[in-house]
């Protein structure tokens, strides 16, 4: 069509913008209603970006105010003394506690969550797997403060026996020694966090295991593999990256959990050699428990520690999402 009309009517420079104009007309973006609606929806998208940027900017600003006054090294000081003149505070203990409690949570939660995901996709009777998935969702719906209350009043008293065992059989490692204090330690926090991040890891892993090509599993079965061998040779290799990103999403949750840690842990500003001894702290827990009596400067210092937490969770979540996004491209799961 273009070939017949071009030589007679339209000179080349005019015909160039016309496709885009036609496209715009076809999309209807010229009508006022459309323009307003597009503006509104694009505006709210931009607003989300602005909020993210504002979080980063304002936290950094207030954090800078606090850190510039800090007499100690913000990263390595083992103290949180914002009232002193000059103030001395640092995040070493908090960073250690946050990492340790999250690692314990991951060590407990990831294998169990993967097993439950396998249970739902490959083991449970079809009739059961729906209701069970719902029960797992209920675990996710329970508010974290209720977990905290349950952890502090029910879980802690019941862990005495387990602590005695760990001390008896694994005490020689040094990190699992117990001196008989109340079990309000990093280990208990890790157990509670594990329960709380179980649902998210389970749900994402389950979605990944569902996408394993039926052909791979049937091929393995046809070769005489048992169900476990099918899982080991077909399901796990396919789902590995998905499980990793699911675990990182769970890790992001564990890092930022506040109330459950604040109720269960009995905090102190020192690093305990044994995981079973009370003491230590996490970023979020420290903010919640120190906030009440903090002066304005103290709040700025807490904001500084919150900024570190923000950056860490941003990196962990970003990495998890990047892995998921890369997966989508080659698995064909985005259809």
């Amino acid at each position: 069509m273009d070939i017949t009309t071009a030589p007679t009517d339209a000179p080349p420079p005019l015909s160039q913008p016309s496709p885009t104009e036609q496209k715009r007309a076809a999309r209807g973006a010229t009508r006022p209603g459309d323009r307003i609606f597009l503006g509104l929806s694009r505006g709210s998208g931009i607003l989300l970006l602005v909020i993210m940027a504002a979080i980063a900017v304002f936290l950094t600003w207030r954090a800078a105010l606090a850190i510039s006054e800090d007499e100690g090294n913000f990263l390595t000081t083992f103290e949180w003394n914002t009232q002193a003149q000059p103030p001395v505070f640092g995040i070493a203990v908090l960073a250690f506690g946050t990492v340790v409690s999250s690692i314990i949570a991951m060590v407990i939660a990831v294998p169990i969550a993967v097993a439950i995901a396998l249970f739902l996709t490959h083991y449970a009777p079809r009739k059961l797997s729906g209701p069970i998935a719902y029960v797992i969702d209920l675990l996710a719906a329970v508010p974290s403060i209720v977990y905290g209350l349950w952890g502090a009043l029910i879980l802690v008293p019941n862990l005495n026996g387990l602590y005695a065992w760990l001390d008896q059989y694994l005490g020689w490692t040094g990190i699992l020694e117990w001196n008989g204090g109340a079990p309000r330690s990093m280990f208990t926090v890790g157990v509670l966090l594990a329960i709380m991040i179980l649902p998210i890891i389970t749900n994402v892993s389950r979605e990944v295991f569902r996408q394993v090509p039926q052909m791979h599993e049937e091929a393995a079965l046809a070769l005489g593999a048992t169900r476990w061998e099918v899982i080991r040779m077909a399901v796990i290799p396919f789902g590995r990256s998905g499980v990793i990103s699911a675990s990182m999403l769970g890790l992001g949750r564990a890092l930022g959990e506040t109330m459950a840690v604040a109720t269960v842990l009995s905090p102190s500003f020192e690093i305990q050699a044994s995981l079973l001894d009370p003491g230590g702290g996490t970023f979020a827990q420290n903010i919640a428990s120190k906030f009440g009596e903090a002066s304005e400067f103290g709040r700025d210092a807490l904001i500084a520690s919150g900024l570190v937490l923000f950056v860490i969770t941003l990196l962990v979540n970003g990495a998890a999402r990047a892995i998921i996004a890369r997966r989508k491209e080659y698995s064909g799961a985005n259809a």
Binding site: R27, G28, R31, I36, F37, L40, S41, G43, G45, I46, L48, L49, M52, I55, F58, L59, W61, R62, I112, F119, Y123, V135, L138, L139, A141, V142, P143, I145, V146, L149, W150, L153, I154, N158, L159, N160, G161, L162, I195, T226, R227, W228, L249, G256, E257, T258, M259, A262, A284, A288, R299, D300, L302, I303, F310, T313, L314, V316, N317, A320
Partner: protein, 353 residues
């Protein structure tokens, strides 16, 4: 020896020897009984220990018996099966315990009086008082947060699905994902930094803003999924009739997916209703009834639970109130969840399948 016995028994079968179907149950019951026996004999008080012994016995027993009768490969398979079952039970135990304890202890003080009175003149360590002020505060804060977050979230999702191409859309998608992972306390700190700059005292609406930040990405995600389920043919049919795109979205796309969008918003509400950390930083808590979210400290249900636990120095009356408030909160969240799922099923978009 067992091998010989087995081949004698079933000489014509091509399959190897198999344990009967009921054997996992029998092994489970056996190991449970032995674990209880060991627990009683050794005087272990903690049920957690009993459960762990039973789980270990179950797995070891399964492997031992299956390896003897069926061979090593089958034994591994059975161990994997039993491990998976044990993992599932381990996950269910805390949930059951949590719900059981909450209901049992919460029912003690939960009654009409509890729901309609505040903590105004009641000391934290004494019995009496209620959660009226906390329910009021929670409803106002969560309601305002929803009013802010739901339209922004839905519009953003519409932008991403209906218009979004290019770098802006990609950036929004990525940051919505990242925003989902923001710890609630960081959202609280962000609003707190603004309040420090403008020298403001705690008030309910500040909490709403932080909750809205937490709610937006959840709404965007779920709405996006729902809009993607709307068949393209519907859009094309409408556009082919000359209907402008914005009216197509409002009159065709949204009505088709409204059930799913509502579900997503309700689930997001259920999620933020239980958030404590931002409320702790921004709203402070208040034993008296304050119905104005724009001025003065307010209470909120999750915050009430925390303060009853933390400020009462181990008083039984305060713990009872904390459990009763937990029961109220869980009931609220669960009802929202159930309603949301009901709506999702009732109004599911017809996808031609």
């Amino acid at each position: 020896m067992s091998h010989a016995v087995v081949t004698d028994k079933r000489p014509s079968s091509l399959r190897g020897a198999q344990l009967p179907k009921w054997s996992p149950w029998a092994i489970a019951a056996g190991s449970l009984a032995v674990a209880v026996g060991i627990g009683l004999a050794a005087g272990l008080h903690s049920r957690i220990q009993w459960g762990l012994i039973a789980a270990l016995l179950f797995i070891a027993g399964t492997f031992g018996i299956a390896a003897r009768v069926e061979g090593k490969r089958q034994a591994k398979d059975r161990v994997a099966t039993s491990l998976v079952w044990v993992a599932f039970l381990i996950a269910v135990v805390p949930l059951v315990s949590l719900i059981w304890v909450t209901v049992q202890r919460g029912m003690k003080v939960l009654d009409g009086y509890f729901l309609t009175h505040s903590m105004g003149l009641v000391a934290d360590s004494e019995p009496g008082g209620g959660i009226y002020h906390a329910i009021l505060g929670s409803l106002e804060q969560v309601g305002l947060a929803t009013v802010i977050a739901a339209p922004i979230g839905v519009l953003t999702a519409i932008y991403l699905v209906e218009y979004g191409r290019g770098n802006l859309a990609r950036a929004v998608t990525f940051f919505v994902d990242v925003m989902t992972g923001i710890p609630s306390i960081v959202a609280g700190l962000f609003i707190l930094s603004l309040m420090l700059i403008f020298d403001m005292q705690p008030f309910g609406f500040a909490g709403s803003l932080a909750l809205a930040i937490l709610m937006m990405p959840v709404v965007v995600r779920s709405t996006e999924e729902m809009l993607k389920l709307v068949p393209n043919e519907l859009r094309e049919a409408s556009l082919a009739l000359g209907v402008p795109k914005w009216r197509t979205i409002l009159k065709v796309v949204l009505p088709t997916s409204i059930g799913g969008i509502t579900t997503g918003i309700m689930l997001a509400v259920a999620r933020i209703a239980g958030e404590t950390a931002p409320v702790l930083l921004l709203v402070w808590g208040n034993p008296f009834i304050n119905a104005n979210p724009f001025e003065g400290a307010q209470a909120s249900l999750p915050l009430y639970i925390y303060q009853q636990y933390a400020n009462s120095a181990g008083s039984g009356a305060a713990y009872d109130r904390a459990w009763a408030a937990s029961l109220t909160l869980i009931a609220f969240v669960m009802i929202l969840n159930l309603l949301a799922r009901g709506i999702a099923r009732w109004k599911a978009p017809k996808t031609g399948r």
